[in-house]
Amino acid sequence: MTQSNERKLTIARSMAEALAQEMRRDEKVFVMGEDLAALGGVYGNTRGLADEFGTDRIRDTPISETAFIGAAVGAAMDGMRPVVELMFVDFFGVCFDAIYNLMAKNIYFSGGSVKVPMVLMTSTGGGYSDAGQHSQCVYGTFAHLPGMKVVAPSNAYDAKGLMTAAIRDDSPVVYMYHKGLQGMGWLGTEEGAIVHTPEEDYTVPIGKAAIARKGTDVTIVSLGIGVHHALRAAETLAEGGVEAEVVDLRSLVPLDRDTIRESVAKTGRLIVVDEDYSSYGVAAEVIATVVENEITNLKAPPKRVAYPDVPIPFARVMEQFCLPNAQKIVAAYKELQTA
């Protein structure tokens, strides 16, 4: 258990620490993207790193995502370990070819003769009125395509361990961090994401979910900021004597299907919380994972609490209305009961 004298970090700080430690350990690691050096990254992921490593290894790029992500693929194939930042995941539109036709497929096309050890880190999520080109999660879009691993941490401990694991991985890893968890004041602060983070380097295995809260009555599966909504909902439910188990996916690809199934086998009820668009996404995949395997476990049809299938509106009232939150999860549980 966390002791009071243990060091706590924000996700932004823990990401920066993982990058720094891996850069010290392996000089093939370098970071490239927009406004990483002088600014330290819009979300603080590279703050202070240019001072230690110089602007060759913390490299600012022009606003040329296709070219610098494509360049990272080439560098990775040629023996480097690049980490590139796509500032907002929404911008994948301009550079997806470099991502899914180049980064994600070259190992396969080569019949395994090349490695593509690179990390694409990118911010996700809304809730701060930045409208429909700056607020999406699009987890499902990335997780749908084979050839890249996808991780999404919910707290600083996992953020550091997953970053370290991603950098050491020989396959491309998409590292999706939620803006609302970064611990940047202007985006609001999620205290639950600021947790004990060891100083030494360590890895969190890619492809392994975590049980964020143990329970017996309903399984709530989520990722990123949704885990914190789920934990809050679980507290509310506990007041009424309902013990929710919260599964933090941590990785979308590979997906830890066993942990999901084991939990639902125990609780018999499933709610998936996903800030991505509702249809064709993570929520659907998690539900399919359960029902394809064994349907008699379920005491009620599964539920998804996700973003409705509309582009994200600018106006605060409309956006807030659509976002998943603890209240909606509790309401979904009530529906499960009456079902």
Binding site: L39, D60, A131, Q133, A315
Partner: protein, 337 residues
């Protein structure tokens, strides 16, 4: 031609400046819905100088720093401010906001928050204008940062290849977020790239709005005649990238110098020295504009919030019946509160 005397150009630039100052106030007062507001203070001559040469029926797209351009194309400041405040009374009923404002009535094909994202649309609008023989020009406004995107070069080549009535306007405020242009671009003579594609291309200093008008007149004429054009306008981004950015990556001294390049004050000085207007007249004009923009703030604040149900409208064209599942989902979300 309308709006091309110096007093008129000054008036339009002052309107843009005051509007942007009020947007900043809206933000500080917590009345703006958005957390990313990009002000065009210091860039007024670009918006006003080019738009002075646009006609009814011309179309355009802008980047994320486009308030001034839309205003200079005749936008209603009330409805703009309301949109920036995320109100139902805004141009897009709160769905688009500062970075996605659009209005076909005024030829605004849309602001775009993806760097370079709005550029290719003017190639299509140029094709359409020629096909429909409308005589219109379509103008893409974007920042220097967009010159990093391949889409600009693809678009310029197509415009030149097909001899389209299209103009590309690059507002070079020297920065893309915290990155100065010389750190992002090997050859800062941006018009040379356009010339290489066969466009009529120039760079102009934005300090004197009349210089911008002169360059725009020349290039817009060529574009209308089927020689697409490119105009880079040099200026300085007076403040941070967005409202929250305090520009830690640049020296205060540089900012002080940069802000001397003020097209609004420059025009005002010139009006005084040439005797076209005196101080009293200028002050009266400024006051009138301040009242106009104060009224826009009041309008925005008084506006209704959007109705929740409207969120599910406009995903598809208004001619489309609302699909049943959307209604069901709405009911469910409403039930969840």
């Amino acid at each position: 031609m309308k709006n091309t005397t110096l007093p008129q150009l000054y008036q339009e630039m002052r309107r843009v400046r005051t509007f942007e100052e009020r947007v900043g106030e809206l933000f500080v007062r917590g009345q703006s819905a958005g957390s990313m507001l990009h002000l065009s203070i210091g860039e007024e001559s670009a918006a006003v100088g080019v738009c002075a040469r646009m006609r009814d029926g011309d179309t355009f797209t802008t980047h994320h720093r486009g308030h001034g351009i839309f205003l200079a194309r005749g936008a209603d400041p009330d409805r703009m401010m309301a949109e920036i405040a995320g109100k139902d009374t805004g141009y897009c009923h709160g769905k688009g906001g500062s970075m996605h404002i659009a209005d076909m009535g005024l030829g605004h094909l849309g602001a775009n928050a993806i760097v370079g994202g709005g550029i290719p649309a003017v190639v299509g609008a140029g094709l359409s204008a020629r096909h429909q023989k409308s005589g219109a020009v379509s103008v893409a406004f974007f920042g220097d940062g967009a010159t990093g995107q391949g889409i600009l070069y693809e678009s310029m080549n197509m415009a030149a290849l097909w001899k389209l009535p299209v103009m590309f306007v690059c507002i070079n405020n020297q920065y893309g977020m915290g990155t100065r242009i010389d750190q992002a671009t090997a050859n800062p003579d941006l018009h040379e790239r356009a010339a290489a594609f066969g466009l009529a291309a120039r760079t102009v200093d934005g300090l004197e709005v009349e210089d911008v008008v002169e360059a725009a007149t020349d290039l817009m004429e060529q574009a209308r005649g089927g020689t697409p054009a490119f105009l880079a306008i040099d200026c300085y981004r007076f403040y941070g990238h967005a409202r929250k950015d305090k520009s830690p990556y640049r020296e205060e001294l540089e900012e002080e110098e940069g802000r001397k390049k003020d097209p609004v004050l420059q025009a005002r000085e010139k009006l005084l020295t040439t005797g076209l207007m005196d101080t009293a007249e200028l002050d009266a004009l400024d006051d009138e504009i301040a009242r106009e923009m104060d009224a826009a703030i009041d309008f925005a604040i008084a506006g209704e919030e959007p109705q929740m149900q409207s969120m599910f409208r406009d995903v598809y064209a208004p001619t489309e019946p609302e699909p049943e599942p959307v209604r069901t989902r709405l009911d469910r979300i409403l039930a969840q509160g």
